[in-house]
Subunit: 132 residues, 2 copies
Amino acid sequence: MVTKSTPDRGDAFDPDCPTRVVLDRIGDKWTVLVIGALQDGPLRFSVLRVRVGGVAAKVLTQTLRAMERDGLLTRTVHAQVPPRVDYELTDLGASLTGPIQTLTDWAETHLSQILGARETYDAALDPPLDAR
Amino acid sequence: MVTKSTPDRGDAFDPDCPTRVVLDRIGDKWTVLVIGALQDGPLRFSVLRVRVGGVAAKVLTQTLRAMERDGLLTRTVHAQVPPRVDYELTDLGASLTGPIQTLTDWAETHLSQILGARETYDAALDPPLDAR
DNA sequence: CGGCATCCTCTGGGATACTG
DNA sequence: CAGTATCCCAGAGGATGCCG
């Protein structure tokens, strides 16, 4: 391994930092959605695609591969005439639902404050000249 | 306002969705770092810049503006000869430290599993031909 | 010192078409 | 049906330079 730089107080300029690793994953557009879709059990690719919303197949594949690589879900290929691939959360993946839920709860609870703040902020800028 | 589409079960194809709003914010490269840096009290721009790590001034400004707009922090300009601008978390911003901490804790706890999964996954692909 | 303007690069996300 | 290969675009992130 390369020389581990200063882990500091646990922050994230360093891609090796745990925070960074997780943040990169949940920061992307689809991972959280996929976890949500798989919470109730395994789903095959096509069903997942619909459940998640209009994701391009390529992008969904990318997302699933990354999650599989990180051990968040398993990919099971069934040797059938029409190929069938099932995706299922691992225990690790399922354990992420907790923290995500915490975040979601915060989001729902404070959304009005955020949107309110935006309106106030924007209102102070939109009419920069007079009209006040 | 535009017609509010189906809020569904609280998910995020819709930019209006609370989850999306928050996820977009914490997903970006610096917001979480800024919150961490400001946890112990207000800091002026230049100090913040150093604390956070090698962020480009432009990018830090962008991040701070977005956070200010969302009501996560306040921006105070002191009318001095050498300009001095202080940034401080609002109660709303401070309340985000909780959920973030939850995520950070999860990250630190499960990092080894993730990295282990990656090694296993990559090892199965790197030598695609023989050598096994 | 803080921050805006400009320019540039890199990559996440996506549409399309083709293969096993 | 699942996945790959191409091509493409927009935007985040960043380097540099100038201004109040």
